[in-house]
């Protein structure tokens, strides 16, 4: 092999690398974002968990297949982020009209010590019939948090034993087959969430 063919081969390798890069960039641009919310299709795994619902019954993700599921981590003593986010989701779901019955909001407590099933049931009841409170021990909760790459931890308690819990702000939205599709957080607005939920329901 002489120097000339080596050089031309090297040029071919370089050209192929550049072409690949261009193709990757092009593919990224041509895919129009069909949804208003951030897409997480293919980024996070399908919905899966083993927890207890606010009636004290053991439930899994399978029990919610067929519904569009919104997964949110929080706690009932949460002073600001949780109630605002849940109220926003309630508005978005109400705007769906009759289709609202095919949506479930799973509110997973990151403070199961204080959030009993009864307390959870009363709390989520404020927001609507689509809201379900879920709880579980560390062995159930930790794998779920890891699966969706969220973190939570308890702040040290004050003199009265009250404590805050630091947690994620993400609302993970799954389609009726349980696939992770969209991501919302407290900075979103009810109208765009509602529009995207309607699109997910239509796609079925």
């Amino acid at each position: 092999m002489n120097a000339c063919t080596i050089a031309s081969r090297r040029r071919t390798v370089l050209a192929m690398l550049l072409l690949g890069l261009a193709a990757a960039v092009g593919a990224g641009c041509s895919r129009q974002p069909a949804f208003k919310l951030q897409s997480i299709s293919g980024l996070l795994p399908a919905l899966q968990f083993h927890l207890t619902d606010d009636n004290g019954r053991p439930v899994t993700a399978q029990d919610y297949r067929g519904d569009v599921v919104l997964l949110y981590f929080g706690y009932t003593h949460c002073p600001d982020v949780c109630p605002t986010t849940l109220a926003m989701l309630a508005r978005a779901i109400k705007a769906l009209g009759p289709a609202a019955s095919q949506v479930r909001v799973l509110f997973v407590s990151v403070d199961p010590q204080r959030d009993s099933a009864a307390l959870l049931k009363r709390y989520v009841g404020y927001f609507g019939p689509q809201f379900v409170g879920l709880r579980g021990n560390d062995r159930a909760l930790k794998p779920l948090a890891k699966r969706y790459r969220i973190s939570y931890h308890l702040d040290p308690p004050d003199q009265y034993g009250n404590y805050a819990v630091e947690h994620s702000s993400a609302v993970f939205i799954f389609d009726q087959k349980g696939r992770a599709r969209l991501l919302a957080d407290e900075s979103g607005n009810a109208a765009s969430i509602s529009a995207d939920l309607a699109r997910l329901l239509q796609a079925d």
């Binding site: 092999m1 080596i6 081969r9 090297r10 390798v13 370089l14 690398l17 951030q38 997480i40 293919g42 980024l43 996070l44 981590f73 969706y148 790459r149 969220i150 973190s151 939570y152 931890h153 702040d155 630091e166 947690h167 994620s168 702000s169 993400a170 991501l183 957080d185």
Partner: protein, 304 residues
Amino acid sequence: MLGLSRAFGASVASGISAFLPYLTPWDFSPTVVLVCAVTAILYIRGLAAVRQRGVHPGFWRPFSFLLGLALIYGVLQTYFDFLSQHMFWIHRLQHLVLHHLAPFLMVIALPGPILRAGIPRRWRGAEKALWHRAGIRQVMALLQNPLMAGFLFVGLIYFWLIPAIHFTAMLDADRYRLMNWSMAVDGVLFWWLMLTPRSAQGSAAVAYGPRVTVLVVTGFLQLFLGFYFVIQKTTLFTVYGVCGRAWAISPLVDQQIGGCITWIPPAMMSLLGVLVVIHHALHDQERSPVKSQSSSTAAAAAAR
């Protein structure tokens, strides 16, 4: 006495068990464990082999190499990885180790001959043949082109810090692994090209002048990026808020500390790299006059 030692033993045991959760992998990766273990075994075998031949690499070289390797393992396969996923500045620290500090420590120890000596005899031929394969040689020639190496080194930092790309890399486990691997592998390639003396780099060795240029330019490009993060008034990387930070800290403070880590230590390491290159250049010069002297005496002897 017995009671005391028993109490001491118990406290040590409880101390270890208290730390154990922090030392176990957050996301266990067989690949990382295997690569680190194989590298460590090759190096230690190689050390024994060269010692038998009467070559003593001293204390600092093996220490530096194994420390770098341990750092890579540590930031990927302990609780540190969890913190890196949930705090921007710790993520920057993780990449500082993977892309700069650990490869620098490993490469500066000139581990090539020792690693090669550690390869079992029956695989040595295969190892040699591997480097002579046309495909491998072409890829290496492309990667070890100084312009390409500098472009890749800074380009990877910029690429993974494009906010939209960063968002998906922190959510998707596969992209996250790809990101960390790309940082570590490119770190080793880059610093090897920059810091290994020409005499140990073979025929494709890069001259010292271009190396200094690449180090200075890449240093400045990293400095700009870090500075840009520090002066931002809004959060660029929202994924840490969405997924929850490891502990309560203002998102902007997190970003500013992360910016400082992207800016100052890499710039200092580029400078350190330049000093190493200058050292090699001077060392080579010291050697070459001897060579020319001996050749001139040889010429004189021939003339006589």
